[in-house]
Symmetry: C3
Subunit: 271 residues, 3 copies
């Protein structure tokens, strides 16, 4: 079966840079199937990119090669990484982008353990001329093409033990109070929090209270239309994380919320 | 030949949601060719989505599977539909999205009659875990993959007789006066009306008057450059419908027009 | 190997027009691999499209068919062109879009000589019904499909000697002063100039001064992070042209610069 390569960048949806990466891949591994994860990562926002990567990669079959390029340090001494995890591959600069993939198991279910990561150093797989500003095209794309056409990860460079990472966005508990925050806002204005579904196990769904932006949502819904249009709801979203939305409107606008906005939960135990 | 699957959603061009649908499809029917119709449908705007679907689907070969997900009622009791029409397939929530495909023959030439539509109920084809908020990924994508890899429509669920529909946007006639309206505004600001080319048969092209936004256009042009830059023109557009544009500028801005803006035609008979 | 077809248009990233071109191509040459170069060309901006085409096409393998549709004169007597250059193909309206491909060798390295260009006139390869407003779908797409599936360029129409072109954006020299300008602004706000890397051969990199928007940058950097965040730098960009950027910020915003903004260089000879 042909290998899938996904691309996630902050290049912008109108840029030709993603196409240039595709041209390089297609010239080296024409049988790879290339899919855009998104090119709308906020510029230089490694945290958001890490979230988008972890949540979207779950929908792809094993063997997929996920290339993520949010790379303000391009051309510096920062390393380039390739990781093999659960049969899939991740290629990215060593700037924290792989934090959730490698260490976020408590948030997402399918990530790899932080093992079998190499520093991409074998220039055999690079383009002949490597620019100082576009390693997406000159290093990450051809390396992904090599992986897609059968090169083992080990040939890309030496194994590494530690990678750059940011503090995991995990909620803190104090009795029945959970302090969390918004980790993503989607295009509908729905707010994704760092509260995993499994953290709610044992709680009474009807008794959960979610406090965010001065509002309180009581109980968990299952679908937007469980509440009237314009009304707030909380639910387990499609990434397996607690979300807050307004049916047919934007919760981000309604609550003035953004990435980082605090979210507090009260979770009475199942009666 | 591999089957084509098109995707039309209101998820936004920067979202990873379309990619998640693709990941599911590629995991289940790798030989399908996936094409984005658009992910820029205005949020929850079923009418605009229905127009975009009907006008764009015409360019695809028979056998294509068109998946349209504008689905504010996701997770509720609203049905999911699969329709086979003229050898092509349409997969969408039952919320009016298929109105023009099923009933819009008087506007577009290639739609199917409202027959051979099923309610998607056979969970064999769903993802193992169906979320309450993302049936695009969990139901519509895997069902489209099943169709692309040979599952007959009949296996998806029982046939349905009536589907949700909105009133067809048809113009009304009174003598030589036609009352119509704008049904779409494209990215150039060109205005598409609900007047089909065939409704103008028998009229004198040079004598047609189009009234919109306080302006009058006399006669039909064939190309934008038939008039000087900055001048209004009317013509039969690429979807087979009457359009109004300004050469090299935006008619929507010039006329303050939007979807729903009234358009009046006077059509003297061929002399 | 399957042929690659790239699409560059000003249709907008939310439009269904690019999908309609793809539907036509897939119906006629299903084995072609279609890639979006960009659909975000500013409306009717042939100069920017020509730059995007020339810079992005370099990343694709020989044999690729590049289709560029920025076409305000669609439906008029303007010709449609197909060019074969260095084993690759370019399909576009005759409005200057191919200026850099055909004549820009002094800026980019890989363009073709201005030879083997035909006027697309053989209606055998057109769609049955050619609209007056969407030749991207009705002429350029099916012609690209024909090329991808083996039709020789010569069968498309008669050879042409002269094509529409704009003045090449070449810098002028006066002693050690070079007068140049900005030819593109990318989504990061980085400024690409019309100064090719080879024009700097013989100059002392540390001694080069770049004047733009009231600021002066001294010396060439190799990577954004060679300077602190918020600081201006100049470097040879990924298209082989001199660029000016601000590390982690937008040079366009900082300097109030846009396409056309003058850039002056002082280039002392290598000591």
């Amino acid at each position: 079966l042909p290998r899938i390569i996904t691309l996630l960048t902050d290049f912008g949806v109108e840029s030709t840079y993603p196409a240039q990466m595709k041209g390089v891949i297609m010239g080296r591994c024409p049988e790879a199937a290339i899919v855009d994860l998104s090119h709308g990562v906020p510029k230089h926002d490694v945290h958001t990119a890490a979230f988008m990567l972890s949540s979207a990669a779950q929908a792809f079959p094993a063997g997929t090669i996920h290339v993520a390029v949010v790379d303000p340090q391009v051309g510096s001494q920062r390393r380039a990484l390739a990781a093999e995890c659960g049969g899939s591959f991740y290629v990215a600069p060593d700037n924290g982008l792989l934090t959730l993939v490698a260490y976020g198991q408590s948030l997402f279910g399918l990530e790899c353990p932080p093992a079998r990561i190499v520093s991409i150093e074998n220039r055999t797989f690079f383009r002949a001329d490597v620019s100082g500003t576009f390693h997406g095209r000159d290093i990450f794309a051809p390396v992904a093409a090599a992986l897609a056409c059968g090169t083992p990860v080990d040939e890309l460079g030496p194994p590494v033990d530690e990678i750059e990472r940011f503090d995991l966005p995990l909620p803190t508990h104090a009795g029945d109070l959970v302090s969390a925050h918004v980790v993503n806002v989607d295009s509908f204005g729905n707010l994704t929090t760092n509260v995993a579904a499994r953290m709610l196990a044992g709680a009474d769904p009807a008794g959960i209270q979610v406090h965010v932006g001065g509002a309180v949502v009581r109980g968990l819904s299952r679908a937007y239309s469980d509440v009237p249009a314009g009304v707030l709801l909380a639910y387990i979203g499609s990434a397996g994380l607690l979300e807050v939305a307004v049916n047919r409107q934007s919760a981000a606008v309604r609550l003035g919320a953004a990435v980082g906005t605090p979210v507090y939960l009260r979770m009475p135990a199942q009666p």
